[in-house]
Amino acid sequence: MPDTLVALYVFVLSCFIGYWVIWGVTPSLHTPLVALTNAISGIIIVGALLVTGLESAGTAAELFGFVAVLLASINVFGGFLVTNRMLAMFKKKDK
Protein backbone atom coordinates (compact mmCIF):
# COMPACT_ATOMS: atom_id res chain seq x y z
CA MET A 1 0.00 0.00 0.00
CA PRO A 2 1.49 3.38 -0.96
CA ASP A 3 2.37 5.77 1.86
CA THR A 4 -0.28 8.32 0.92
CA LEU A 5 -2.93 5.64 1.20
CA VAL A 6 -1.64 4.56 4.61
CA ALA A 7 -1.87 8.19 5.65
CA LEU A 8 -5.46 8.30 4.41
CA TYR A 9 -6.34 5.18 6.42
CA VAL A 10 -4.87 6.71 9.57
CA PHE A 11 -6.63 10.01 8.91
CA VAL A 12 -10.07 8.51 8.43
CA LEU A 13 -9.82 6.21 11.45
CA SER A 14 -8.59 9.12 13.59
CA CYS A 15 -11.65 11.11 12.54
CA PHE A 16 -13.82 8.35 13.98
CA ILE A 17 -11.89 8.37 17.25
CA GLY A 18 -12.20 12.15 17.40
CA TYR A 19 -15.93 11.97 16.77
CA TRP A 20 -16.58 9.53 19.62
CA VAL A 21 -14.19 11.01 22.14
CA ILE A 22 -15.35 14.61 21.69
CA TRP A 23 -19.05 13.83 22.09
CA GLY A 24 -18.19 12.56 25.57
CA VAL A 25 -16.78 15.91 26.70
CA THR A 26 -19.02 17.63 29.24
CA PRO A 27 -20.38 20.99 28.02
CA SER A 28 -19.11 22.74 31.14
CA LEU A 29 -15.55 22.03 29.95
CA HIS A 30 -16.00 23.30 26.40
CA THR A 31 -13.71 26.28 26.91
CA PRO A 32 -10.88 24.12 28.32
CA LEU A 33 -11.55 21.72 25.41
CA VAL A 34 -10.95 24.51 22.91
CA ALA A 35 -7.83 25.56 24.79
CA LEU A 36 -6.51 21.99 25.02
CA THR A 37 -7.16 21.14 21.37
CA ASN A 38 -5.49 24.42 20.58
CA ALA A 39 -2.44 23.37 22.59
CA ILE A 40 -2.25 19.96 20.96
CA SER A 41 -2.63 21.46 17.50
CA GLY A 42 0.71 22.97 18.46
CA ILE A 43 1.90 19.52 17.31
CA ILE A 44 2.58 21.43 14.11
CA ILE A 45 5.86 22.15 15.92
CA VAL A 46 6.96 18.67 14.82
CA GLY A 47 6.61 19.79 11.21
CA ALA A 48 8.42 23.01 12.00
CA LEU A 49 11.32 21.11 13.62
CA LEU A 50 11.61 18.78 10.62
CA VAL A 51 11.79 21.71 8.18
CA THR A 52 14.20 23.80 10.26
CA GLY A 53 16.51 21.00 11.38
CA LEU A 54 17.08 19.45 7.96
CA GLU A 55 20.80 19.46 7.33
CA SER A 56 20.46 20.53 3.72
CA ALA A 57 17.89 23.24 4.46
CA GLY A 58 18.65 26.55 2.75
CA THR A 59 18.61 29.86 4.62
CA ALA A 60 15.12 30.77 3.41
CA ALA A 61 13.69 27.43 4.58
CA GLU A 62 15.49 27.80 7.89
CA LEU A 63 14.00 31.26 8.42
CA PHE A 64 10.49 30.12 7.59
CA GLY A 65 11.01 27.15 9.88
CA PHE A 66 12.36 29.35 12.65
CA VAL A 67 9.25 31.55 12.68
CA ALA A 68 7.07 28.43 12.58
CA VAL A 69 8.95 26.95 15.57
CA LEU A 70 8.51 30.24 17.45
CA LEU A 71 4.76 30.46 16.78
CA ALA A 72 4.14 26.79 17.49
CA SER A 73 6.02 26.95 20.80
CA ILE A 74 3.89 29.90 21.91
CA ASN A 75 0.93 27.66 21.18
CA VAL A 76 2.28 24.63 22.99
CA PHE A 77 3.33 26.48 26.14
CA GLY A 78 0.53 29.04 26.20
CA GLY A 79 -2.14 26.47 25.36
CA PHE A 80 -1.22 23.86 27.95
CA LEU A 81 -0.56 26.35 30.75
CA VAL A 82 -3.77 28.27 30.25
CA THR A 83 -5.73 25.01 30.10
CA ASN A 84 -4.13 23.97 33.35
CA ARG A 85 -4.96 27.33 34.91
CA MET A 86 -8.59 27.02 33.90
CA LEU A 87 -9.00 23.42 35.00
CA ALA A 88 -7.52 24.24 38.40
CA MET A 89 -10.47 26.59 38.95
CA PHE A 90 -13.13 23.90 38.51
CA LYS A 91 -13.84 22.79 42.06
CA LYS A 92 -16.67 20.83 43.54
CA LYS A 93 -17.60 22.09 47.00
CA ASP A 94 -15.96 24.79 49.06
CA LYS A 95 -12.53 23.88 50.14
Binding site: D3, G47, L54, E62, V69, M89
Partner: protein, 466 residues
Amino acid sequence: MEISANTQAIAYLISAILFILALKGLTHPASARRGNYLAMTGMGIAIVATLLGSEVQSYGFIVAGVIPGALIGTVLAARVQMTAMPQLVAALHSFVGMAAVLVAIGTYLNHAAAGTLNPVMMGELSVGIIIGAITFSGSVVAFAKLQGLVSGAPVKFKGQHALNAGMGIATVVLGIHFGMTESMISLVLMTLLAFILGFTLIIPIGGADMPVIISMLNSYSGWAAAATGFTLGNLLLIIVGALVGFSGAILSFIMCRAMNRSIINVVFGGFGSDSGGETSAVSQAAQKGVKSASVEDAIYWMEDANKVIIVPGYGMAVAQAQHALKEMMELLEARDVAVKFAIHPVAGRMPGHMNVLLAEADIPYDHVMEMDEINPEFPTADVTLVVGANDVVNPAAKSDSSSPIYGMPILDAAKSRQVYFLKRSMNPGYSGVDNLLFYQDNTSLIFGDAKDTIEGMVTSLKGGGH
Protein backbone atom coordinates in the same frame (compact mmCIF):
# COMPACT_ATOMS: atom_id res chain seq x y z
CA MET B 1 22.13 10.23 20.73
CA GLU B 2 20.07 9.42 17.71
CA ILE B 3 17.04 7.14 17.58
CA SER B 4 16.00 4.97 14.65
CA ALA B 5 12.95 5.69 12.52
CA ASN B 6 11.20 2.72 14.13
CA THR B 7 11.81 3.95 17.66
CA GLN B 8 10.53 7.36 16.58
CA ALA B 9 7.39 5.80 15.14
CA ILE B 10 6.69 3.97 18.42
CA ALA B 11 7.22 7.22 20.35
CA TYR B 12 4.74 8.98 18.04
CA LEU B 13 2.22 6.20 18.64
CA ILE B 14 2.52 6.58 22.42
CA SER B 15 2.15 10.31 22.01
CA ALA B 16 -1.02 9.90 19.92
CA ILE B 17 -2.52 7.56 22.54
CA LEU B 18 -1.77 10.10 25.27
CA PHE B 19 -3.56 12.84 23.31
CA ILE B 20 -6.65 10.66 22.88
CA LEU B 21 -6.69 9.81 26.60
CA ALA B 22 -6.24 13.51 27.38
CA LEU B 23 -9.37 14.44 25.46
CA LYS B 24 -11.19 11.56 27.13
CA GLY B 25 -10.20 13.10 30.48
CA LEU B 26 -12.37 16.13 29.72
CA THR B 27 -15.44 13.94 30.18
CA HIS B 28 -15.56 15.11 33.78
CA PRO B 29 -14.03 18.06 35.69
CA ALA B 30 -12.51 15.62 38.21
CA SER B 31 -10.37 13.86 35.59
CA ALA B 32 -9.72 16.88 33.38
CA ARG B 33 -6.48 18.07 34.92
CA ARG B 34 -4.94 14.64 34.66
CA GLY B 35 -5.98 14.72 31.02
CA ASN B 36 -4.09 17.93 30.47
CA TYR B 37 -0.96 16.44 32.03
CA LEU B 38 -1.26 13.41 29.73
CA ALA B 39 -1.41 15.74 26.74
CA MET B 40 1.66 17.65 27.97
CA THR B 41 3.51 14.35 28.29
CA GLY B 42 2.40 13.36 24.80
CA MET B 43 3.68 16.64 23.41
CA GLY B 44 6.98 16.27 25.25
CA ILE B 45 7.49 12.76 23.86
CA ALA B 46 6.65 13.91 20.33
CA ILE B 47 9.08 16.83 20.44
CA VAL B 48 11.95 14.83 21.94
CA ALA B 49 11.43 11.95 19.49
CA THR B 50 11.51 14.42 16.60
CA LEU B 51 14.65 16.14 17.81
CA LEU B 52 16.44 12.82 18.30
CA GLY B 53 15.39 11.48 14.89
CA SER B 54 17.80 11.34 11.99
CA GLU B 55 16.13 14.15 10.00
CA VAL B 56 16.87 16.88 12.51
CA GLN B 57 20.56 17.71 12.35
CA SER B 58 20.98 21.42 12.99
CA TYR B 59 19.65 22.93 16.19
CA GLY B 60 20.57 26.64 16.11
CA PHE B 61 17.33 28.03 14.66
CA ILE B 62 15.28 25.55 16.68
CA VAL B 63 16.68 26.70 20.01
CA ALA B 64 16.35 30.33 18.88
CA GLY B 65 12.66 29.75 18.19
CA VAL B 66 11.66 27.55 21.12
CA ILE B 67 13.09 29.67 23.95
CA PRO B 68 11.33 32.97 23.17
CA GLY B 69 8.21 31.03 22.15
CA ALA B 70 8.12 29.24 25.49
CA LEU B 71 8.60 32.53 27.35
CA ILE B 72 5.92 34.38 25.44
CA GLY B 73 3.47 31.48 25.78
CA THR B 74 4.08 31.16 29.51
CA VAL B 75 3.60 34.87 30.14
CA LEU B 76 0.45 35.00 28.00
CA ALA B 77 -1.05 32.02 29.83
CA ALA B 78 -0.24 33.41 33.25
CA ARG B 79 -1.46 36.95 32.59
CA VAL B 80 -4.60 36.52 30.54
CA GLN B 81 -7.88 37.39 32.24
CA MET B 82 -10.56 34.75 32.10
CA THR B 83 -12.93 37.19 30.38
CA ALA B 84 -10.31 37.57 27.63
CA MET B 85 -10.06 33.82 26.99
CA PRO B 86 -11.87 34.03 23.61
CA GLN B 87 -9.30 36.56 22.37
CA LEU B 88 -6.37 34.43 23.54
CA VAL B 89 -7.77 31.36 21.84
CA ALA B 90 -8.31 33.32 18.62
CA ALA B 91 -4.72 34.58 18.75
CA LEU B 92 -3.36 31.08 19.33
CA HIS B 93 -5.44 29.70 16.44
CA SER B 94 -3.88 32.28 14.17
CA PHE B 95 -0.41 31.06 15.21
CA VAL B 96 -1.22 27.46 14.27
CA GLY B 97 -2.53 28.65 10.91
CA MET B 98 0.57 30.74 10.21
CA ALA B 99 2.89 27.94 11.35
CA ALA B 100 1.15 25.54 8.94
CA VAL B 101 1.69 27.98 6.04
CA LEU B 102 5.35 28.47 6.95
CA VAL B 103 5.99 24.74 7.34
CA ALA B 104 4.40 24.07 3.96
CA ILE B 105 6.50 26.75 2.24
CA GLY B 106 9.64 25.56 4.01
CA THR B 107 8.94 22.00 2.90
CA TYR B 108 8.47 23.22 -0.65
CA LEU B 109 11.83 25.03 -0.55
CA ASN B 110 13.63 22.01 0.90
CA HIS B 111 12.21 19.65 -1.70
CA ALA B 112 12.68 22.10 -4.55
CA ALA B 113 16.36 22.39 -3.59
CA ALA B 114 16.71 18.61 -3.46
CA GLY B 115 14.70 18.14 -6.69
CA THR B 116 12.25 15.78 -4.99
CA LEU B 117 8.96 17.57 -5.66
CA ASN B 118 6.06 15.54 -6.97
CA PRO B 119 2.47 16.46 -7.89
CA VAL B 120 0.87 14.62 -4.95
CA MET B 121 3.10 16.41 -2.48
CA MET B 122 2.46 19.78 -4.11
CA GLY B 123 -1.27 19.16 -3.92
CA GLU B 124 -0.97 18.37 -0.20
CA LEU B 125 1.21 21.45 0.27
CA SER B 126 -1.38 23.64 -1.40
CA VAL B 127 -4.17 22.29 0.80
CA GLY B 128 -2.03 22.95 3.89
CA ILE B 129 -1.26 26.50 2.79
CA ILE B 130 -4.85 27.35 1.90
CA ILE B 131 -6.33 26.03 5.16
CA GLY B 132 -3.50 27.51 7.22
CA ALA B 133 -3.79 30.94 5.61
CA ILE B 134 -7.57 31.06 6.04
CA THR B 135 -7.17 29.98 9.68
CA PHE B 136 -4.60 32.71 10.23
CA SER B 137 -6.39 35.71 8.79
CA GLY B 138 -9.82 34.51 9.93
CA SER B 139 -8.50 34.23 13.48
CA VAL B 140 -6.92 37.67 13.26
CA VAL B 141 -10.33 39.13 12.35
CA ALA B 142 -12.00 37.17 15.16
CA PHE B 143 -9.35 38.45 17.58
CA ALA B 144 -9.83 42.06 16.45
CA LYS B 145 -13.60 41.79 16.86
CA LEU B 146 -13.37 40.19 20.30
CA GLN B 147 -10.75 42.63 21.52
CA GLY B 148 -12.88 45.54 20.28
CA LEU B 149 -10.17 46.71 17.84
CA VAL B 150 -12.82 46.69 15.14
CA SER B 151 -16.59 46.76 15.50
CA GLY B 152 -18.19 43.41 16.28
CA ALA B 153 -21.01 44.25 13.89
CA PRO B 154 -21.25 42.25 10.68
CA VAL B 155 -19.58 43.98 7.72
CA LYS B 156 -21.67 43.45 4.63
CA PHE B 157 -21.64 44.72 1.10
CA LYS B 158 -23.29 43.85 -2.16
CA GLY B 159 -21.83 40.94 -4.09
CA GLN B 160 -19.92 39.72 -1.04
CA HIS B 161 -20.76 36.06 -1.52
CA ALA B 162 -19.99 36.20 -5.23
CA LEU B 163 -16.63 37.82 -4.47
CA ASN B 164 -15.76 35.17 -1.88
CA ALA B 165 -16.81 32.37 -4.21
CA GLY B 166 -14.73 33.88 -7.01
CA MET B 167 -11.67 34.17 -4.80
CA GLY B 168 -12.19 30.63 -3.50
CA ILE B 169 -12.30 29.22 -7.03
CA ALA B 170 -9.27 31.28 -8.09
CA THR B 171 -7.33 29.97 -5.06
CA VAL B 172 -8.04 26.37 -5.99
CA VAL B 173 -7.20 26.96 -9.67
CA LEU B 174 -3.87 28.53 -8.70
CA GLY B 175 -3.18 25.54 -6.43
CA ILE B 176 -3.82 23.13 -9.30
CA HIS B 177 -1.67 25.21 -11.64
CA PHE B 178 1.13 25.15 -9.06
CA GLY B 179 0.85 21.37 -8.70
CA MET B 180 1.09 20.88 -12.46
CA THR B 181 3.82 23.40 -13.30
CA GLU B 182 5.77 24.01 -10.05
CA SER B 183 5.21 27.71 -10.80
CA MET B 184 6.44 29.79 -7.91
CA ILE B 185 4.21 32.70 -8.97
CA SER B 186 1.09 30.53 -8.67
CA LEU B 187 2.20 29.40 -5.22
CA VAL B 188 2.67 32.98 -4.01
CA LEU B 189 -0.59 34.23 -5.54
CA MET B 190 -2.48 31.26 -4.09
CA THR B 191 -1.07 31.99 -0.63
CA LEU B 192 -1.93 35.70 -0.79
CA LEU B 193 -5.43 35.00 -2.03
CA ALA B 194 -6.03 32.48 0.76
CA PHE B 195 -4.97 35.08 3.34
CA ILE B 196 -7.43 37.60 1.86
CA LEU B 197 -10.16 34.96 1.78
CA GLY B 198 -9.74 34.37 5.52
CA PHE B 199 -10.45 38.07 6.15
CA THR B 200 -13.42 38.34 3.83
CA LEU B 201 -15.01 35.12 5.11
CA ILE B 202 -15.05 36.24 8.76
CA ILE B 203 -15.82 40.00 8.54
CA PRO B 204 -19.53 39.48 7.74
CA ILE B 205 -20.03 37.48 10.94
CA GLY B 206 -21.33 39.32 14.01
CA GLY B 207 -19.86 39.37 17.51
CA ALA B 208 -22.45 37.15 19.14
CA ASP B 209 -21.86 34.39 16.59
CA MET B 210 -18.34 34.14 17.96
CA PRO B 211 -18.95 30.80 19.74
CA VAL B 212 -19.48 29.25 16.30
CA ILE B 213 -16.57 31.10 14.71
CA ILE B 214 -14.13 30.18 17.49
CA SER B 215 -15.16 26.53 17.17
CA MET B 216 -14.89 26.66 13.40
CA LEU B 217 -11.40 28.18 13.44
CA ASN B 218 -10.44 25.60 16.07
CA SER B 219 -11.51 22.97 13.59
CA TYR B 220 -9.59 24.61 10.71
CA SER B 221 -6.39 24.71 12.78
CA GLY B 222 -6.74 20.95 13.20
CA TRP B 223 -7.28 20.34 9.49
CA ALA B 224 -4.26 22.56 8.78
CA ALA B 225 -2.12 20.33 11.02
CA ALA B 226 -3.50 17.20 9.33
CA ALA B 227 -2.72 18.60 5.87
CA THR B 228 0.83 19.31 7.03
CA GLY B 229 1.00 15.70 8.20
CA PHE B 230 0.07 14.49 4.72
CA THR B 231 2.73 16.72 3.18
CA LEU B 232 5.46 15.48 5.51
CA GLY B 233 4.21 11.89 5.61
CA ASN B 234 3.99 12.30 9.40
CA LEU B 235 1.25 10.12 10.88
CA LEU B 236 1.27 11.81 14.29
CA LEU B 237 0.37 15.16 12.72
CA ILE B 238 -2.41 13.45 10.80
CA ILE B 239 -3.88 11.78 13.90
CA VAL B 240 -3.74 14.91 16.06
CA GLY B 241 -5.00 17.11 13.24
CA ALA B 242 -8.03 14.85 12.77
CA LEU B 243 -8.78 14.84 16.51
CA VAL B 244 -8.63 18.63 16.73
CA GLY B 245 -10.47 19.10 13.45
CA PHE B 246 -13.33 16.94 14.62
CA SER B 247 -13.41 18.54 18.04
CA GLY B 248 -13.93 21.97 16.51
CA ALA B 249 -16.46 20.65 14.01
CA ILE B 250 -18.55 19.02 16.74
CA LEU B 251 -18.45 22.18 18.86
CA SER B 252 -19.59 24.23 15.85
CA PHE B 253 -22.46 21.81 15.38
CA ILE B 254 -23.44 21.99 19.07
CA MET B 255 -23.36 25.82 19.00
CA CYS B 256 -25.46 25.99 15.83
CA ARG B 257 -27.98 23.53 17.20
CA ALA B 258 -28.30 25.68 20.32
CA MET B 259 -29.32 28.60 18.11
CA ASN B 260 -31.49 26.48 15.82
CA ARG B 261 -29.46 27.70 12.87
CA SER B 262 -27.44 25.88 10.27
CA ILE B 263 -23.72 26.46 9.92
CA ILE B 264 -24.45 27.82 6.43
CA ASN B 265 -26.82 30.35 7.95
CA VAL B 266 -24.20 31.50 10.49
CA VAL B 267 -21.38 31.74 7.97
CA PHE B 268 -23.30 33.36 5.15
CA GLY B 269 -26.37 34.98 6.63
CA GLY B 270 -25.57 37.67 9.18
CA PHE B 271 -28.03 37.80 12.05
CA GLY B 272 -29.99 40.90 12.97
CA SER B 273 -29.27 42.48 9.61
CA ASP B 274 -32.75 42.15 8.18
CA SER B 275 -34.93 44.29 10.40
CA GLY B 276 -37.88 41.94 10.61
CA GLY B 277 -41.31 43.55 10.80
CA GLU B 278 -42.91 44.17 14.16
CA THR B 279 -44.12 40.93 15.62
CA SER B 280 -47.67 41.27 16.78
CA ALA B 281 -47.25 39.38 20.04
CA VAL B 282 -44.38 41.58 21.12
CA SER B 283 -46.08 44.83 20.21
CA GLN B 284 -49.20 43.77 22.07
CA ALA B 285 -47.16 42.94 25.12
CA ALA B 286 -45.15 46.12 24.73
CA GLN B 287 -48.29 48.19 25.13
CA LYS B 288 -48.54 46.86 28.65
CA GLY B 289 -45.17 48.38 29.40
CA VAL B 290 -42.51 46.96 31.64
CA LYS B 291 -42.27 47.02 35.41
CA SER B 292 -39.09 48.20 36.98
CA ALA B 293 -38.05 47.13 40.44
CA SER B 294 -35.46 48.06 43.03
CA VAL B 295 -32.74 45.92 44.55
CA GLU B 296 -34.80 45.71 47.76
CA ASP B 297 -37.82 44.31 45.90
CA ALA B 298 -35.69 41.51 44.50
CA ILE B 299 -34.06 40.77 47.86
CA TYR B 300 -37.48 40.64 49.49
CA TRP B 301 -38.39 37.73 47.22
CA MET B 302 -35.00 36.06 47.18
CA GLU B 303 -34.18 35.91 50.88
CA ASP B 304 -37.22 33.78 51.73
CA ALA B 305 -37.13 31.72 48.55
CA ASN B 306 -36.52 27.98 48.46
CA LYS B 307 -34.79 28.13 45.14
CA VAL B 308 -33.16 30.90 43.11
CA ILE B 309 -31.87 30.28 39.59
CA ILE B 310 -29.37 32.68 38.09
CA VAL B 311 -29.05 32.95 34.29
CA PRO B 312 -25.73 34.56 33.34
CA GLY B 313 -24.98 35.93 29.88
CA TYR B 314 -22.29 37.91 28.11
CA GLY B 315 -23.39 41.01 30.04
CA MET B 316 -22.16 39.34 33.25
CA ALA B 317 -18.72 38.93 31.68
CA VAL B 318 -18.65 42.54 30.51
CA ALA B 319 -19.66 43.82 33.96
CA GLN B 320 -17.29 41.34 35.68
CA ALA B 321 -20.15 40.51 38.01
CA GLN B 322 -19.21 36.86 38.69
CA HIS B 323 -17.37 37.53 41.97
CA ALA B 324 -20.27 39.53 43.37
CA LEU B 325 -22.60 36.71 42.32
CA LYS B 326 -20.53 34.22 44.27
CA GLU B 327 -20.81 36.38 47.40
CA MET B 328 -24.55 36.68 46.93
CA MET B 329 -24.82 32.92 46.44
CA GLU B 330 -23.07 32.30 49.76
CA LEU B 331 -25.27 34.77 51.64
CA LEU B 332 -28.41 33.21 50.19
CA GLU B 333 -27.20 29.69 50.95
CA ALA B 334 -26.60 30.75 54.55
CA ARG B 335 -30.34 31.44 54.61
CA ASP B 336 -31.12 27.96 53.24
CA VAL B 337 -31.91 29.20 49.77
CA ALA B 338 -30.83 26.78 47.05
CA VAL B 339 -28.92 28.70 44.38
CA LYS B 340 -28.27 27.29 40.91
CA PHE B 341 -26.81 28.69 37.73
CA ALA B 342 -28.41 27.96 34.36
CA ILE B 343 -26.11 28.02 31.34
CA HIS B 344 -27.30 28.25 27.76
CA PRO B 345 -24.84 26.62 25.32
CA VAL B 346 -24.24 29.86 23.38
CA ALA B 347 -24.04 32.21 26.38
CA GLY B 348 -20.88 34.29 26.09
CA ARG B 349 -18.37 34.54 23.29
CA MET B 350 -17.03 30.99 23.16
CA PRO B 351 -18.30 27.52 24.04
CA GLY B 352 -18.41 27.07 27.82
CA HIS B 353 -17.37 30.69 28.45
CA MET B 354 -19.77 31.18 31.40
CA ASN B 355 -18.64 27.98 33.12
CA VAL B 356 -15.05 29.20 33.21
CA LEU B 357 -16.01 32.63 34.56
CA LEU B 358 -18.14 31.08 37.31
CA ALA B 359 -15.35 28.63 38.13
CA GLU B 360 -12.95 31.57 38.32
CA ALA B 361 -15.21 33.13 40.96
CA ASP B 362 -14.99 29.86 42.96
CA ILE B 363 -18.56 28.85 42.30
CA PRO B 364 -18.60 25.04 42.64
CA TYR B 365 -19.32 23.31 39.33
CA ASP B 366 -22.10 21.19 40.81
CA HIS B 367 -24.13 24.42 41.20
CA VAL B 368 -23.80 25.12 37.48
CA MET B 369 -26.35 23.35 35.28
CA GLU B 370 -26.71 22.85 31.54
CA MET B 371 -29.91 23.80 29.77
CA ASP B 372 -31.45 20.31 29.62
CA GLU B 373 -30.74 19.65 33.31
CA ILE B 374 -32.12 22.92 34.61
CA ASN B 375 -35.18 23.50 32.42
CA PRO B 376 -37.45 21.13 34.40
CA GLU B 377 -36.53 23.08 37.55
CA PHE B 378 -37.71 26.54 36.53
CA PRO B 379 -41.38 25.91 37.47
CA THR B 380 -40.25 25.19 41.05
CA ALA B 381 -37.96 28.22 41.26
CA ASP B 382 -39.22 31.13 43.32
CA VAL B 383 -36.96 33.66 41.66
CA THR B 384 -34.98 33.65 38.42
CA LEU B 385 -32.36 36.33 38.17
CA VAL B 386 -31.21 37.07 34.60
CA VAL B 387 -27.78 38.70 34.61
CA GLY B 388 -26.76 40.07 31.22
CA ALA B 389 -28.56 37.46 29.13
CA ASN B 390 -31.46 38.16 26.81
CA ASP B 391 -32.28 36.10 23.73
CA VAL B 392 -31.62 32.80 25.53
CA VAL B 393 -34.65 33.34 27.80
CA ASN B 394 -37.00 34.90 25.22
CA PRO B 395 -40.25 32.89 25.12
CA ALA B 396 -40.86 34.26 21.60
CA ALA B 397 -38.51 31.47 20.49
CA LYS B 398 -41.29 29.06 21.42
CA SER B 399 -44.50 30.96 20.87
CA ASP B 400 -43.97 33.39 18.01
CA SER B 401 -43.40 31.71 14.67
CA SER B 402 -42.67 35.09 13.04
CA SER B 403 -39.74 35.76 15.35
CA PRO B 404 -36.23 35.46 13.87
CA ILE B 405 -35.21 33.36 16.84
CA TYR B 406 -38.25 31.05 16.57
CA GLY B 407 -37.24 27.45 17.21
CA MET B 408 -34.13 28.26 19.19
CA PRO B 409 -34.01 26.18 22.40
CA ILE B 410 -34.27 28.51 25.40
CA LEU B 411 -33.99 28.46 29.17
CA ASP B 412 -37.52 28.34 30.60
CA ALA B 413 -37.00 31.30 32.94
CA ALA B 414 -40.52 32.47 32.08
CA LYS B 415 -41.97 29.56 34.07
CA SER B 416 -40.52 30.57 37.41
CA ARG B 417 -42.62 32.46 39.96
CA GLN B 418 -40.72 35.75 39.74
CA VAL B 419 -38.24 36.91 37.11
CA TYR B 420 -35.79 39.76 37.70
CA PHE B 421 -33.82 41.08 34.76
CA LEU B 422 -30.66 43.04 35.43
CA LYS B 423 -30.36 45.41 32.48
CA ARG B 424 -28.38 48.43 31.56
CA SER B 425 -31.03 49.81 29.22
CA MET B 426 -34.06 48.77 27.22
CA ASN B 427 -31.94 48.00 24.15
CA PRO B 428 -32.96 44.69 22.64
CA GLY B 429 -30.59 41.72 22.64
CA TYR B 430 -28.06 40.93 20.01
CA SER B 431 -30.59 39.42 17.63
CA GLY B 432 -32.44 42.74 17.64
CA VAL B 433 -35.54 40.91 18.80
CA ASP B 434 -37.61 42.37 21.60
CA ASN B 435 -37.96 40.03 24.55
CA LEU B 436 -41.50 38.87 25.37
CA LEU B 437 -40.38 38.00 28.86
CA PHE B 438 -39.96 41.71 29.76
CA TYR B 439 -43.69 42.20 29.53
CA GLN B 440 -44.79 39.16 31.48
CA ASP B 441 -46.77 39.90 34.67
CA ASN B 442 -44.23 38.21 36.96
CA THR B 443 -41.22 39.98 35.41
CA SER B 444 -39.52 43.10 36.70
CA LEU B 445 -36.48 44.89 35.35
CA ILE B 446 -33.74 46.28 37.55
CA PHE B 447 -31.83 48.91 35.61
CA GLY B 448 -28.17 49.60 36.18
CA ASP B 449 -24.75 48.01 35.90
CA ALA B 450 -25.00 44.31 36.75
CA LYS B 451 -22.04 44.36 39.11
CA ASP B 452 -23.30 47.42 41.01
CA THR B 453 -26.77 45.90 41.29
CA ILE B 454 -25.51 42.61 42.65
CA GLU B 455 -23.16 44.34 45.05
CA GLY B 456 -26.21 46.27 46.21
CA MET B 457 -27.99 42.98 46.82
CA VAL B 458 -25.00 41.66 48.75
CA THR B 459 -24.97 44.76 50.96
CA SER B 460 -28.68 44.44 51.55
CA LEU B 461 -28.36 40.75 52.48
CA LYS B 462 -25.47 41.51 54.82
CA GLY B 463 -27.53 44.17 56.48
CA GLY B 464 -30.01 41.51 57.55
CA GLY B 465 -32.07 41.61 54.41
CA HIS B 466 -35.47 43.10 54.47
